[in-house]
């Protein structure tokens, strides 16, 4: 395998460069996926039937906690990639580990939030609005969950094999994914929660 040392590790082989481009295209598809969910959300937003509206059920505290946690985790994954680029394996694993812990904390808060919705009578079945709300949040949450497993696998591989070009490539792609989930969350925060509470 030809390794180009003038490039950062994650870009250093032909297959690595292909993988990164491929993942950007995949993120394009993900944008369409969430765009469909957001469009549907806007359609169903006021179609609440006999169920509650957004203003009735949204709570600012868990949402703010989730937002702060996820934004911080986006910062720490950035630090992890930076550490990887200056070849500090130890620092990289620490930052990746922190990112995953923050991801888990986000997920825990989101589970609490869903539990709250359940108790105030906003379930998947209640109305068009609650259905699409929980589907959109749930799709994002499922992505975060998948990311937790994926990140853990990468962490195990770094421990086992060190920072090879392949593992650097996986870590970098994981960071793209994680940043993307953060961007989606910003849209969720602005266009679902803030818009709903105003």
């Amino acid at each position: 395998m030809k390794i180009d040392h003038s490039q950062p590790l994650e870009y250093s082989t032909e297959q690595n460069r292909l993988n990164i481009l491929g993942f950007w295209i995949f993120l394009g598809a993900e944008i369409m996926l969430f765009a469909t969910l957001f469009t549907s959300y806007f359609v169903y937003e006021d179609r609440i039937g006999s169920g509650p509206s957004g203003a009735d059920i949204f709570e600012i505290t868990p949402v703010l906690i989730e937002t702060i946690i996820l934004l911080t985790s986006s910062f720490t994954i950035g630090l992890a990639v930076h550490a990887m680029r200056i070849n500090r394996t130890k620092a990289m694993t620490v930052f990746l580990g922190i990112t995953l812990l923050l991801g888990a904390a986000f997920l825990a808060t989101e589970i609490y939030e869903f539990n709250h919705y359940y108790h105030v009578g906003a379930t998947l079945q209640t109305s068009g609005f609650t259905g699409i709300l929980l589907t959109t949040l749930g799709t994002h949450g499922a992505h975060v969950t998948l990311g937790l497993f994926w990140g853990t696998m990468i962490l195990m591989q770094i421990k086992k094999r060190g920072l090879t070009p392949q593992i650097a490539n996986k870590s970098f792609i994981f960071s793209l994914y994680w940043h993307f989930l953060d961007v989606v969350w910003i849209f969720i925060f602005s266009f679902i929660y803030l818009k709903g509470m105003m």
Binding site: G22, S40, T126, G128
Partner: protein, 649 residues
């Protein structure tokens, strides 16, 4: 026993029991046959575990042909049922199931895989690459499509077929009006094969953008590669919409949500919108590669370079963009205001402009050319007038006010078959014949091929042109029968006759494969058609590594440059070639996905959980796996090249 009752056929008939027996017998025969000839090892090693784009392409095409016969059988049953008034061959429920599966099978499991199969085989060769960007992912794409298709096909013997049309509109597709598990099958079969298609899209965009031979700038790509690139862009942006729509449908039917209901804030029109936001680009996913195939063939057999290369590319770019802006024309009559309808009417009609440009380009390519009337060229020539008629009736349907007259009549059925059959089916048959020697190293018999062509073309005209008339007279689509007083009888009988001719044509095509396999000479050389683009610069059939040396290209007709202008395509020494390892995991994932889908359809949650764990286990296995591929040595390359008789290449 109660557990098994859910698998019973929803609306049985002797015909379904007969096919159940037939499926059982054929499956046993296949297993016994493979065991008897000791081919399990060969099948596993050479096909089921392959990551070679050429073999995957061939498997796509074989599956597509099988599905063509499944969908064709549905078509014949429909034509037979409506051939005479007040017929009782099928009842209303069976007719609903048959037109639903016909539509889904033909679009999702015949036309798309056929196109993707040709794309798989040809695109890497046309750009001078060794494989696609992600060979392993390519295998997963294929197996997800394949098992999605199989899942769909077992529906009519286990639990009942979907019966709400291929468009699956709600509330018709809801539990209330479609109580069988059929629509669940629809949701999961499309979901699983759709994920496979999405991955194909990502794979081919990366391949075409990054893996072209030196010198092949974007505007020097062969036209089929251009068409494939744009198609895959449409796939990546359209399929996620379907993913979400199917998810919402699944939730409605299986978890009691209110997305497409008419109470608690649900909105049934939302399905129609989401479906067609995917569905209209979907028809361009089918037709753009077809345009690419025609461009290659018309240029080759007119012995002229393609007229208006740049306008061909730009018109396809425009069509791709427009394809996302017209979805509403599928339901002009469903209650939008006149202003909204007008906008979508205009965008729809505007698509005729870039398409028209392409038609004129093909005509001007043929102008003063030395036309050779081979089978692929016959299909391409017949395509032009027939597709133009289909396009013109499309413009008629696109006029919103007039659409109130045509909507949901046989006129519409005639229109979309008139664009899909001469557009897509003729194209894949032409491409199949044209690239056959590339795949297998011998030619298909021209004489039988021409008979098939004439049967198909005449059969097509007789089957579908009468529907324009009955449609304008008011015959509704999807009605399982009609009374004698309507006067639709004779024209429907003519349609049935035409469908029969088409069936003969497809039988002839299969016979042609058999006949040519037995009798066709094997020494056709590397350039049997006097072709122009890069895929013909390697041997027939193509060696495992595609090109012994990476070619250097200076135009979209690299091979023609080499033949006529002394351009040196292969001006390098042999070097070791790196190849990807084969793997059985994609196949296993396909099986697991089908178990997942099947269990979900019947709400067997333990199966869902176990197969989901299995799928994740495959992914974990993949991420920890260390595979470095293998190398083909210079000595092996030399031996292979000499065996093919082309040591100079």
């Amino acid at each position: 026993m109660e557990f098994f009752e859910r698998f019973a056929i929803y609306h049985p008939s002797p015909l379904i029991y007969a096919s159940m027996v037939a499926i059982g017998l054929v499956s046993i025969a296949i297993v016994v046959g493979i065991t008897y000839f000791k081919k399990w090892g060969y099948l596993w090693n050479e096909w089921l575990t392959t990551v070679d784009h050429k073999k995957i392409g061939i498997m796509y095409i074989i599956s597509a042909l099988l599905m063509l016969f499944r969908g064709g059988a549905d078509a014949i049953m429909m034509r037979l049922q409506t051939a005479v008034p007040d017929n009782s061959f099928l009842d209303a429920q069976h007719y609903n199931e048959v037109f639903t599966t016909h539509g889904v099978v033909m679009i999702m499991f015949m036309a798309m895989p056929f196109i993707i199969g040709l794309m798989n085989f040809i695109v890497p060769l046309q750009i001078g690459a060794r494989d696609v960007a992600f060979p392993r992912l390519n295998a997963i794409s294929f197996w997800l499509f394949f098992f999605g298709a199989m899942l769909f096909n077992v529906s009519f013997v286990i639990g009942g077929s979907p019966d709400a049309g291929w468009t699956n509109y709600y509330p018709l597709a809801s539990n209330e009006f479609s109580p069988s598990v059929g629509v669940n099958y629809y949701n999961w079969a499309l979901q699983i094969s759709g994920i496979g298609t999405l991955m194909t899209g990502i794979n081919f965009i990366a391949t075409i953008l990054k893996m072209r031979a030196p010198g092949m700038k974007l505007m020097k790509m062969p036209m089929f590669t251009w068409a494939s690139l744009l198609t895959n862009v449409i796939i990546v942006f359209a399929f996620p919409v379907l993913t979400i729509a199917l998810l919402m449908g699944t939730f409605d039917r299986q978890f009691g949500t209110n997305f497409f209901t008419s109470m608690n804030g649900g909105m049934d029109m939302m399905w129609a919108n989401l479906f067609w936001i995917w569905g209209h680009p979907e028809v361009y996913i089918l037709i753009l590669p077809a345009f690419g195939i025609y461009s290659e063939i018309i240029s080759t057999f007119s012995e002229r370079n393609l007229y208006g290369y740049k306008s061909m590319v730009w018109s396809m770019v425009l069509i791709s963009l427009f394809s996302f802006t017209v979805w509403l024309h599928h339901f002009f009559t469903m209650g939008q205001n006149a202003f909204t309808n007008s906008i979508f009417s205009i965008t729809t009609i505007a698509i005729a402009i870039p398409t028209g440009i392409k038609i004129f380009n093909w005509l001007l390519t043929m102008w003063k050319g030395k036309i050779r009337f081979t089978v692929p060229m016959l299909y391409s020539i017949a395509f032009i007038p027939l597709f133009t008629i289909g396009g013109a009736t499309g413009v008629m349907l696109g006029i919103a006010s007039a659409d109130y007259q045509y909507h949901n009549t046989m006129f519409l059925v005639a229109h979309f078959h008139n664009v899909i059959i001469p557009g897509v089916v003729f194209a894949v048959l032409a491409g199949f014949t044209y690239w056959w020697p590339k795949m297998f190293g011998f030619m298909l018999n021209e004489k039988i091929g021409k008979w098939a062509f004439w049967f198909l073309t005449i059969g097509f005209c007789l089957a579908f042109f009468p529907m324009y008339v009955t449609g304008l007279d008011g015959q509704a689509r999807r009605m399982y029968t009609y009374s004698e007083a309507t006067g639709f009888g004779p024209l429907n009988m003519l349609s049935f006759f035409g469908a029969g001719l088409m069936a003969i044509a497809f039988a002839l095509i299969v016979y042609n494969v058999y006949y040519s396999f037995r009798h066709s000479p094997r020494n056709v050389g590397d350039d049997p058609w006097n072709a122009r683009s890069l895929e013909w610069a390697t041997h027939n059939p193509v060696p495992e590594y595609n090109f012994a040396v990476t070619p250097e290209v200076k135009s979209s007709q690299a091979f023609w440059d080499q033949k006529k202008h002394g351009h040196k395509l292969f001006d390098k020494e042999y070097e070791e070639i790196h190849m990807p390892n084969k793997s059985g995991v994609p196949f296993i994932m396909g099986v697991l996905f089908s178990i997942f889908g099947f269990s979900f359809i019947f709400a067997i949650w333990i199966g869902v959980i176990l197969s989901a764990i299995g799928i994740f286990a495959c992914m974990i296995h993949r991420t920890f796996e260390q595979v470095h591929g293998f190398h083909i040595s210079v000595k092996e390359i030399k031996e292979t090249e000499e065996k093919f008789g082309g040591a100079d290449k």
